[in-house]
Symmetry: C2
Subunit: 130 residues, 2 copies
């Protein structure tokens, strides 16, 4: 899908607007989408537990991201028969599979975060605001 020549099959060419992979990328490849998948990696969690795990996420953003990922078949929503009923979320086998390449990207970010912050500092010193 990343061949430098445009692929014949638009469904496998992420550069093409009509590629279904584009939609998927836009759901996964959001700051919150990645963190929601990562939060569920170790097992099912209730809505409130995901919210508490991800510093700074609003309930609205979390609900929106979960809905998209349930629709994509990456996350399962289950209503527990408790009183009051509790809603919990878990990765599907498809979502679980995605955590493997996702982890590769997060590991890289963790490894290089300091290099990137240093680059940002250099940039900001050579591009003063105003």
């Amino acid at each position: 899908m990343l061949a430098s020549a445009p692929a014949a099959d638009p469904t496998s060419d992420a550069f093409n607007n009509d590629c279904p992979g584009r939609t998927v990328i836009s759901h996964i490849a959001s700051r919150w989408g990645i963190l929601v998948l990562a939060a569920l990696r170790d097992g099912p969690l209730r809505f409130s537990a995901i919210r508490d795990r991800i510093d700074g996420i609003s309930e609205k953003m979390l609900a929106q991201n979960l809905r998209l990922m349930v629709r994509d078949g990456l996350v399962d929503r289950a209503v527990e028969p408790t009183a009051p009923p509790q809603v919990s979320y878990a990765l599907t086998p498809l979502g679980d599979e995605l955590t493997v390449p996702l982890q590769g990207m997060l590991d890289w970010v963790a490894l290089r975060a300091h290099d990137i912050v240093a680059a940002q500092d250099r940039y900001d010193r050579s591009h003063p605001a105003g």
Copy 2:
């Protein structure tokens, strides 16, 4: 950085709002950020060539994404001494390194795009609008 217990060092815990990795994730993990990095994977390109490669990106979004990635140290901006001067963009060694885990994620999306579209169809049939 994805251990289930909060990490002691906030700089390596993506769940923490103060983690520098969070900022990096928000630059890379955007639909356009991923596609810009992927477009540059095979070599330097001029602004107009990147725009043409990525179906549907606006010049404004492309300029914004490139500026963030230059600041992050992932992309180099070079002014070619032609008349008129041309601006070209290339991955830095750091940006090039990132394309490895990124490719893993894009390969997965290409492999599973049809499963995800099928899940979306199932969801939409069982959640009719209105």
